[in-house]
């Protein structure tokens, strides 16, 4: 098998399913009431050194309130799963400044860019600074790493990454199929210590519903050792039980449930409100000058007591009403 390549990138999380099984076994109280403020959820369930993952897709259905709180609480030495992460990564990158190191390990599939909107100066600065260890992946490879963990198996095989530097700089390994002899890419299970997922509806136990595309959140919710749900609406368990087909995330995956209307702002929330392109543009622009950036972060993250205040500083109910209208065009 000497012709089989092993990626030289760092492996940031233990893919061993028995270690994860021991953790999941002692995680009880699926039907406890898990409602709490975002500040409490972040304080209680996110620890320095944790490996973090965020759901949604960059500027779509992201848990903005929890991301801001992580920066405000100055968490340190976090690993991060950078499947298409755009504004979420941009927010966290603010934590690596003035000698503080919020992020230290990045699994990178899509980072530093905000798709058609352009690149984030500050996210680039972080990635180019050498301040973080980086491992390369593709979006599908990271999704498969979550699925392997969600399935309770240590790896999954796939057919991308082969023949590229992306594989060489990943922690994936080439294997041979035991049935066909074909060369495949094996990617190790990724069990995040804690994840953030914003949903449309959840009950107080964390039985949650998502409308529109689910991206990788079905698997991410199951793969995560701890899970913080932020929800547009809190619904009753009777409501959840009235339509079992609508549930995507079952309560036993969840540790905290936070009620955060407009929680994906300035991102898009399918069927609820569109993204605030003005605010996202302002953010990208502010990043280009360090003084401006400092003031921007003070205004929109550091000197903000809670998420409602952030929404108000971004135009409040009037602006949100515009974004709702835009979503329903």
């Amino acid at each position: 098998m000497s012709d089989l390549l092993a990626g030289q990138g760092p492996l940031f999380a233990n893919p061993d399913p028995d270690a994860a099984r021991a953790f999941f076994r002692q995680k009880k109280g699926a039907l406890n009431n898990k409602l709490m403020p975002v500040s409490e959820a972040v304080a209680q369930f996110i620890h320095n050194g944790d490996y973090l993952a965020s759901g949604g897709f960059g500027t779509n259905r992201i848990a903005t309130a929890a991301l801001h709180e992580i920066v405000r609480q100055k968490k340190a030495d976090l690993g991060f799963a950078g499947h298409t992460t755009t504004h979420d990564f941009q927010i966290l990158a603010a934590g690596n400044r003035h000698g503080h190191r919020l992020l230290s390990r990045i699994d990178a599939a899509y980072i530093v860019g905000l798709e058609a909107r352009g690149l984030s100066t500050q996210a680039r600065r972080l990635m180019e600074s050498g301040d973080v260890d980086v491992c390369e992946w593709t979006n599908y490879a990271l999704a498969c790493r979550f699925r392997a963990a969600a399935s309770g198996i240590p790896f999954l095989p796939l057919r991308s990454m082969l023949g590229t530097d992306t594989l060489k700089h990943s922690a994936a390994k080439e294997i041979l199929c035991p049935f066909t002899g074909r060369k495949l890419t094996a990617v190790p299970a990724l069990y995040p210590d804690v994840s953030l997922i914003h949903v449309h509806e959840s009950d107080c136990h964390g039985n949650a519903r998502i409308k529109g595309i689910t991206v990788a959140d079905y698997d991410l919710a199951r793969a995560s050792k701890r899970l913080i749900i932020t929800a547009e609406r809190i619904v009753s368990t009777d409501e959840i039980r009235s339509n079992p087909n609508a549930t995507l995330i079952p309560a036993f995956c969840v540790d905290a449930v936070c009620h955060v209307p407009f929680g994906s702002y300035p991102g898009n929330m399918p069927g609820e409100y569109f993204s605030d392109e003005q605010h996202l543009k302002a953010w990208l622009n502010a990043e280009r000058d360090s003084d401006t950036y400092e003031k921007f972060l003070t205004t929109y993250i550091y000197n903000v007591p809670n998420f409602e205040t952030y929404l108000d500083r971004c135009g409040g109910t009037a602006r949100l009403a515009e974004l709702q209208k835009l979503e329903h065009l």
Binding site: G56, F57, G58, T59, N60, G82, T84, T86, A108, A109, Y110, I111, V112, G113, E115, A116, L119, R124, M127, E128, G130, E136, T138, N139, Y140, A141, A143, C144, R147, L158, R159, S160, M161, L162, G163, T164, D165, T166, H169, R182, K183, L184, T185, G212, I213, T214, V215, A216, D217, Y218, D219, N268, M269, P270, G271, F274, S275, E277, E327, L329
Partner: protein, 255 residues
């Protein structure tokens, strides 16, 4: 380029390549515009898929993100990234659009770093879903500006596979058989890949552009198709639909 611009030409050329009934994986911007234009012209049953989970939407407007709600508006299904990527891996998806900071003679792409990986001059987003699309979909289409900084002899980083080192290299690497880069569409020309050497060659030159002008903007040596034609101009109806229906706000064609 009197009554149309280069972007409009590139979009029209790309749209014509997408036959009715085909399935295409697209991103935002020009690729999405091309797929939308194809639907409004010759390919009403073209199925558009977005990597984040949007399957065959009726696009109400140009998406800003490949995961925004427009990508699943009136879709046949709002699904997951794994479902879309596995539909590609299974061999169901005919075309995918790609781009990159650098491209080489075999259609390999770099969207990760410029400079040394450990100490990059510029860090770009990385593969995203590009490596997956390029590995799985039957034919990949590359839309990009044409200049010597992009069309290079040696990539700083091979993010996404083209034909790798040449004939048979994809299969040897374990990638699915019989797929790879199909066309490269730039502001100067349309290129394909020689069926024996798998190196990039010019199929058609845009009006007023010479082979030498394209070669001058390309670091590696370009081949010539048996017959090099002139790229068919955007037709009035194509331009009307593109400007009035596909991109009325000129997000893409205004660039």
């Amino acid at each position: 380029m009197s009554n149309y611009n280069a972007m409009e030409l590139m979009i029209c050329v790309a749209a014509r390549l997408l036959e009715n009934g085909a399935t295409v994986g697209v991103g935002t911007g020009a690729p999405c515009a091309a797929a939308m234009l194809a639907q409004k012209t010759h390919a009403p049953n073209l199925l558009i898929v977005f990597e984040a989970g949007g399957l065959a939407p009726v696009l109400p407007a140009m998406p800003i993100s490949v995961g925004d709600s427009r990508t699943s508006h009136k879709a046949l299904m709002a699904t997951s990234m794994c479902d879309i990527m596995e539909t590609c891996q299974r061999g169901v998806v005919d075309y995918a659009f790609l781009g990159g900071a650098q491209i080489d003679a075999y259609g390999n792409l770099n969207s990760t770093v410029i400079g040394d990986y450990a100490h990059p001059k510029v860090r770009f987003p990385g593969s995203g879903g590009a490596n997956d699309f390029a590995s799985f979909c039957w034919r990949t289409l590359i839309l990009t500006q044409h200049d010597r900084r992009r069309f290079v002899k040696q990539l700083d980083f091979l993010t996404t596979p083209g034909y790798l080192t040449g004939p048979g290299a994809r299969e040897a690497a374990g990638l699915p058989a019989n797929c790879g880069p199909y066309r490269v569409i730039t502001d100067l020309a349309v290129m394909s890949f020689h069926e024996k050497t798998r190196r990039m060659q010019i199929d058609s030159l845009h009006p007023g552009i010479t082979f030498e002008q394209v070669q001058a903007q390309t670091e590696f040596e370009l081949g010539r198709a048996n017959t090099i034609t002139e790229t068919l101009l955007p037709q009035p109806e194509e331009l009307r639909l593109l400007r009035e229906d596909v991109d009325p706000h000129q997000y893409i064609i205004g660039r």
